[in-house]
């Protein structure tokens, strides 16, 4: 097995409070030292990390690779390359595939697809309710045993609170993490844009913040009632951040993330009727974005996810409300995080922690850190390297990004997953 020596990089490992120039030694798929060369170590590969950052590989809490069922949008093969090139070493897949991840067979199929794509660290998230219909519980225990890391109802709202309560109780009985994107079905009213000035001007069906905050408030009550371990995903507005802050202070066992693009774009950035800005939850106001950024800086929101949703061209080709929501976002994850650092919103350590240490804690995984003995999931990036989002550089099959054509700073040069180099920038 290969032995990798990463030389003289700026090592940032938030979980171990390391922030200095260091070497990382990898052998047998594991981190063996971050201080001195271990006895008998014989590097088969040396990576020169001078002027580069070495950090734990990124863990994405919400990803869609579109298989099974929608390989016209993306495949494990195409997206595994995109993820590797983005420094992502672990992905959690939302259950809204076709068929839905609600039987062990589908979970096993996903494991197989991951192996075939030479990207083993893919964790399916099981459906919270059968077919995501919100009416019957899924076989959560069997799904957990088949390798599902959590349960979620993806973008589908659970309309009936009694069902949601029972699903949470059942998940709690098996110590399953529930991931939840709060969204009240009725208040959401099939909207496609934030209920604000832009939707008013363009006559777009709109989604008020309350579709999120009311569903969030209800769910927080159910967390207290059921004692379930809860992670709220892809929050989009000011009052959600405040609610999470208060609930944590009150003592509830919860965590929360924000999708990377929500930390940058608002309704005012939307080019009229440009479907690459069609995303759920919708881009909201500048004030909401400020609170999301503060929430991240203060730890109220502990993780950043990509909420990667690659689409085929046809899915985005139409009048705005009729197009499919979602952004292909794995590859802009790191540069957009670095932009927050450059803008002084968060420190580099915080940004890296939100992509590695913190999601690992949410998932109860022994990863997200370069601790000796842990699987060697490592990302090496050049924080100064500029690149353009264009066909030449882009790996994902989905080119649906509002950042297309933009120039970014910060690029991954090497990605190591369990001691194996899965990406190196040519």
């Amino acid at each position: 097995m290969s032995q990798i020596h990463i030389k003289q990089g700026h090592l940032i490992d938030p979980a171990n409070h390391i922030n200095r120039i260091a070497d990382v030694y990898i052998a047998g798929g594991k981190v063996v030292s971050v201080t001195h060369e271990p006895a008998g170590f014989k590097a088969t590969t040396v990576i020169d990390a001078t002027h580069k950052v070495i950090c734990p590989g990124f863990i994405d809490l919400s990803t869609r690779l579109r298989e099974p069922g929608q390989s016209r949008k993306a495949t494990f093969k195409s997206e595994a390359i995109a993820a590797a090139s983005a420094g992502v070493t672990t992905m959690c897949l939302q259950p809204d595939t076709n068929p839905v991840i609600d039987t062990p067979a589908v979970a096993e199929l996903i494991k197989e697809l991951a192996e075939k794509a030479h990207y083993p660290q893919i964790y399916p998230i099981a459906a919270l309710t059968r077919k995501l219909e919100g009416t019957e519980l899924s076989s959560m225990l069997s799904l957990k045993q088949a390798g599902c890391i959590a349960v979620s109802n993806a973008q589908q709202a659970v309309k009936n609170l009694l069902i949601l309560r029972r699903a949470m109780e059942y998940a709690a009985s098996h110590d399953l993490l529930v991931m939840f994107r709060p969204n009240d079905y009725w208040l959401g009213n099939n909207g496609c844009a934030h209920e604000g000035a832009v939707a008013t001007r363009y006559g777009l069906p709109s989604i008020p913040e309350e579709a999120e905050t009311i569903a969030l408030a209800q769910c927080l009550e159910l967390v207290e009632l059921t004692g379930c371990r809860m992670h709220f995903g892809q929050l989009s507005c000011k009052r959600s951040v405040i609610k999470i802050y208060q609930a944590k202070k009150y003592g509830l066992n919860i965590s929360a993330d924000v999708a990377i693009h929500q930390l940058h774009l608002t309704e005012n950035d939307m080019i009229p009727f440009d479907s690459s800005y069609h995303v759920l939850p919708p881009f909201r106001t500048e004030e909401d974005r400020e609170y999301l950024r503060q929430g991240l800086a203060t730890g109220t929101l502990n993780s950043i996810c990509s909420d990667h949703q690659p689409h085929d061209i046809d899915a985005k080709l139409g009048a705005f409300p009729e197009t499919e929501p979602g952004v292909s976002s794995l590859e802009t994850l790191l540069p957009l995080m670095l932009k927050l650092v450059e803008q002084g919103e968060i420190s580099l350590q915080q940004g890296i922690a939100a992509l590695s240490e913190n999601p690992a804690r949410v998932l109860h995984l022994n990863s997200g850190a370069l601790t000796v003995g842990y699987a060697a999931d490592v990302c090496v990036f050049d924080p100064e390297l500029t690149w353009q989002v264009n066909a030449e550089n882009w790996k994902s099959q989905g080119i649906n990004t509002p950042f297309w054509g933009q120039q970014f700073k910060g690029r991954v040069t090497h990605t190591i997953q369990a001691g194996k180099i899965i990406y190196s920038l040519e």
């Binding site: 209920e195 604000g196 000035a197 939707a199 008013t200 001007r201 363009y202 006559g203 777009l204 069906p205 709109s206 008020p208 005012n268 939307m270 080019i271 009229p272 009727f273 046809d314 080709l317 139409g318 009048a319 705005f320 409300p321 009729e322």
Partner: protein
């Protein structure tokens, strides 16, 4: 917000998709050109050769009688070859995408599309994806815009009250779902109206209606004070079943325009309605057919304004002037 795809590099009209992004000079030019066409209505031969040899396709993905007919007449009076298609019941129901429908028609050497569609942004989308030589005129898209209707309304107002800067205009009814209202508000503000007031219950107003630069009232009686122009909007029956309103009769009681309520506005106020009218729901027949109503005038003016807009959009190709 971004570049205006409606104008060509010389600032001339290429597409007519929304009022937003157009300036007062251009809107006034449309009204002036329409003025020059209005006389034609009384002539024996109601035709000019401005668009001879051009092919215009009316693409109506949503049903309409008035708008489609006036567009068709306008095109014919400009001597264009015109084809009207109701697609609500043809290709798209067979699963063909909007873009495929457009591409197929494009292949038949069309010069202009007049589009009506139930989804906001559809005309915009078509304009962005057609060949560069094709002009797109928006004949109403979802809840977004109906700019030719707004322009014919401005034209009708100007015939009676030439100076916009003195005018207080009230738009009454279902603003939330109205593409007509959005376009009218923009046109009135660009043309410099003294005040645009919207009068409706909260359930029929967009959440951030003030951002459209209007004053808001929920009461017709006080709302009509000092008003010069009253624009009534059509109320769709679905609004009752979707819990936006309790009943037609209660709506008429609160927001229906009756002779008594009309007296609150200025004595020379005019009454407008984009049609089709729901008599006894938003407007009393006595008002709709009364001396202050200019509703039928709006319909006649529709032809001249659409001729003006089609001629201007084709001008870029040297078809006119």
């Amino acid at each position: 917000m971004t570049e205006n795809i409606q104008l060509n590099s010389e600032g001339k009209l290429k597409h007519f998709l929304s009022i937003e992004g157009l300036n007062k000079t251009l809107l006034t030019e449309i009204l002036d050109i329409a003025d020059s066409f209005i006389g034609m209505n009384d002539q024996q031969i109601k035709k000019v050769p401005l668009l001879r040899g051009k092919t215009i396709v009316n693409l109506f993905f949503e049903n309409s009688t008035r708008t489609r007919t006036t567009f068709e007449l306008a095109a014919k009076r400009l001597s264009a070859d015109v084809l009207s298609m109701s697609i609500a019941t043809s290709s798209t129901s067979k699963g063909e995408s909007l873009l495929d429908t457009i591409r197929n028609l494009e292949a038949m050497f069309v010069d202009m599309f007049v589009v009506r569609h139930a989804i906001s942004g559809a005309a915009h989308f078509i304009a962005q994806h057609t060949s560069p030589h094709i002009s797109v005129i928006n004949a109403g898209d979802g809840q977004h815009a109906h700019p030719t209707q707004a322009m014919l309304d401005m034209f009708t107002i100007r015939q009676v009250k030439p100076d916009f800067s003195n005018l207080r205009v009230a738009i009454i009814g279902d603003i939330l779902h109205s593409r007509v209202a959005r376009s009218q508000i923009q046109a009135l503000n660009i043309l410099g109206a003294a005040e645009v007031r919207v009068i409706a219950p909260k359930t029929l107003l967009p959440s951030h209606v003030e951002s459209l630069e209007v004053n808001v009232s929920h009461d017709l009686t006080s709302g009509l004070k000092d008003i010069d122009v009253i624009i009534m909007l059509r109320l769709q029956k679905e609004r009752m079943t979707s819990a936006l309103l309790p009943s037609e009769s209660e709506y008429f009681k609160c927001f229906g325009l009756t002779e008594a309520k009309l007296k609150i506005a200025k004595p020379d106020a005019i009454v407008m309605h984009p049609g089709p009218i729901n008599r006894g729901v938003e407007i009393d027949s006595k008002v709709a057919d009364g001396p202050q109503s200019v509703i039928l005038k709006q319909v006649s003016n529709g032809i001249a304004i659409r001729m003006a807009i089609m001629a201007m959009a084709m001008q870029k190709q040297g078809a006119v002037g």
